[in-house]
């Protein structure tokens, strides 16, 4: 595990020494900030209209701001995750530094875990930006913090799965663009596959819908930990990392 941590630290160093981390954080912060501002503006306008009409419709920060915003983050994340993972192995393969890692007394699994952990931590930093925004809600209102915490847990689990897929795809190629584009395509499909459940209820549609990463986020967004959904994400993480390990191994037999 010590080795995985060494590699994780090195990867984080690469993210934060180069502009990668800052550009991702900035863009994500801007986009989420816009979503947050939008949601808040609607909330305020709706609240004023209620008051003018004299109705006392229950206004709820959790239901009307936090929950939809967390779902938004789940989708925005799909666009950013390929950019986090695309370099992980592709760059090492292109520059030849993979030879250093592969000839050091380190297990493949430790290399993979280290890289994946660094990606998860970078994603966690992006989530911190959203937490800054949510902090305003706590300063001026009284939302329930528990659903928010569970929402974050869900986001991390979801990202963990998608990052594992991205790590796997990055290990397949020397070309970062190829890795990024393929990851993005697959993650997008894992999102839209849930849409078939809207008009079809056959087995194939239910399977497709079950595969969707966004469907499984709904329970977390509501503040509920559904073991079915947690297991789905954990499976995704496991499969992604497992296939990365196989891919590294086959790299040696083929290259």
């Amino acid at each position: 595990m010590r080795n995985a941590w060494i590699i994780c630290r090195k990867e984080l160093g690469s993210y934060f020494v180069s502009p990668i981390a800052y550009i991702l954080l900035l863009m994500f912060g801007l986009i989420f900030g816009f979503f947050f501002w939008n949601a808040l503006a609607y909330f305020v306008v709706a609240g004023m209209e209620m008051q003018m009409r004299g109705q006392s419709f229950p206004m709820n920060l959790n239901e009307q701001i936090i929950r939809p915003l967390l779902s938004n983050v789940a989708v925005i994340g799909l666009f950013f995750i390929p950019m986090i993972t695309m370099r992980l192995f592709a760059e090492e393969k292109r520059t030849g530094t993979i030879e250093l890692l592969a000839t050091s007394p380190v297990r493949d699994l430790e290399i993979i875990l280290g890289k994946w952990m660094a990606a998860v931590i970078l994603y966690g930093c992006m989530l911190l930006f959203t937490a800054l925004n949510f902090a305003f809600l706590f300063a001026f209102g009284h939302p329930d913090w528990k659903p928010l915490a569970i929402g974050y847990l869900g986001l991390l689990l979801q990202a963990g799965g998608l990052l594992a897929i991205g790590t796997f795809i990055s290990s397949l190629t020397k070309n970062q663009i190829v890795a990024g584009a393929a990851t993005f395509g697959i993650e997008l499909m894992l999102w839209i596959s849930g849409w078939v459940s809207g008009y079809e209820n056959a087995t194939w549609a239910r399977v497709l819908s079950y595969m969707s990463v966004i469907t499984h986020f709904e329970s977390f967004g509501r503040g509920v930990i559904d073991s079915k959904d947690a297991i789905y994400y954990l499976t995704l993480i496991f499969l992604g990392l497992f296939f990365t390990a196989r891919s590294l191994e086959s790299l040696r037999w083929r290259s």
């Binding site: 690469s14 520059t95 030879e99 250093l100 007394p105 297990r107």
Partner: protein
């Protein structure tokens, strides 16, 4: 220290390395010689556990590369053809990272980092980004990372490729310097490099082992026959090369005379002596006695090069030509 037996690497359509066997004892510098694409890198990658062999075995410090790769990796330092550096890291930071990967930590790590930066003369770029370093410095950083954990075996893949002559010399000196502490295998396609740095040579071609021998033996063999280049000019008017050729052939001990070129009155000849004969003095005397000017007389390219070409080139298919003192491998 290194023991390789029938090592083979097959790909879908080619055999990159074909049943190579050799032994390297402790503290030696071994030159791994062969033309580009001969299988040098593949062999080295198998020794460093980067590639698994298709057949055969390789042992480093008593550990098998397939069965105990982690133990092997702990005992080798490897410099691939392009130094495996991260351009966004600083030199010292990078060496620390590699040191940690190899299992060093704390004061020991710091000590080794200081030691290798001094040893490889990279102390002045400790705080520089690796991406900004010149090729020569990168190579030295590559060498520094290879020795950071004081490995028993050093495997260097073309350590001097792409360097300028001064850097090449410095790198060779450094490698020779390191030989006392480590067993070194270095690959190259440059012959003088082997002569200058190595004690033993392994020549491979097209994945097959062609010869293994000590440099001394090879050099002795090379000195067996002398090859001399002469440039001759006529004192009055241009020289007639057939006449000169005939004259040179009559010098005792001369085996073969080839006219290399003839331009405005001067002619260049290549003279090969018979085995064990030294003909330079007699050649010079003969030229002067005939009234020609001897513009140049120098030993031609080292014959080790010819042996190499002979072994790896067209004549490699007729191994019977090789000298008995050269350990031939059945092809």
């Amino acid at each position: 220290m290194i023991s390789v037996k029938d090592l083979t690497k097959r790909y879908a359509h080619t055999t990159a390395v074909d049943q190579i066997s050799f032994e390297v004892s402790k503290g030696q510098i071994v030159g791994f010689l062969g033309p580009n694409g001969a299988g040098k890198t593949t062999t080295m990658r198998m020794l460093t556990c980067f590639l698994p062999p298709s057949a055969g075995t390789a042992q480093v410090a008593g550990f098998d590369v397939l069965d105990q790769p982690i133990e092997v990796k702990k005992r080798i330092g490897y410099l691939p053809e392009t130094p495996p550096i991260y351009p966004e890291m600083e030199t010292a930071e990078y060496l620390k990272f590699v040191g940690k990967l190899k299992g060093l930590s704390g004061a020991k790590l710091q000590k080794r980092v200081d030691y290798v930066t001094e040893r490889c003369a990279i102390a002045d770029v400790k705080k520089k980004l690796l991406g900004k370093l010149s090729k020569g410095y990168r190579q030295r950083v590559g060498l520094a990372q290879a020795i950071i954990h004081n490995p028993d075996v050093l495997i260097l893949d073309e350590p001097t490729s792409g360097l300028d002559p001064k850097q090449i010399n410095e790198t060779r000196e450094l490698i020779k310097d390191l030989a006392g502490e480590h067993t070194i295998i270095l690959s190259t396609h440059i012959l003088p490099e082997v002569e200058q740095t190595c004690q033993q040579v392994i020549i491979i071609n097209k994945g097959k082992l062609v010869a293994t021998d000590s440099v001394k033996n090879l050099q002795a063999r090379a000195r067996g026959a002398e090859s001399v280049v002469l440039e001759i000019a006529g004192r009055s008017g241009p020289v007639d090369s057939p006449i000169v050729q005939h004259k040179l052939e009559q010098v005792p001990g001369v085996g073969r005379v080839i006219v290399k070129q003839q331009t405005d009155g001067r002619a260049v000849f290549e003279v090969e002596s018979q085995k064990g004969k030294f003909v330079r003095g007699d050649l010079a005397r003969a030229v002067v006695e005939c009234g020609w000017d001897l513009n140049e007389l120098r030993p031609s390219a080292m014959s080790l090069e010819e042996i190499f070409l002979q072994l790896t080139g067209a004549e490699a298919s007729t191994p019977s030509k090789a000298e008995p003192e050269l350990q031939e491998v059945q092809q």
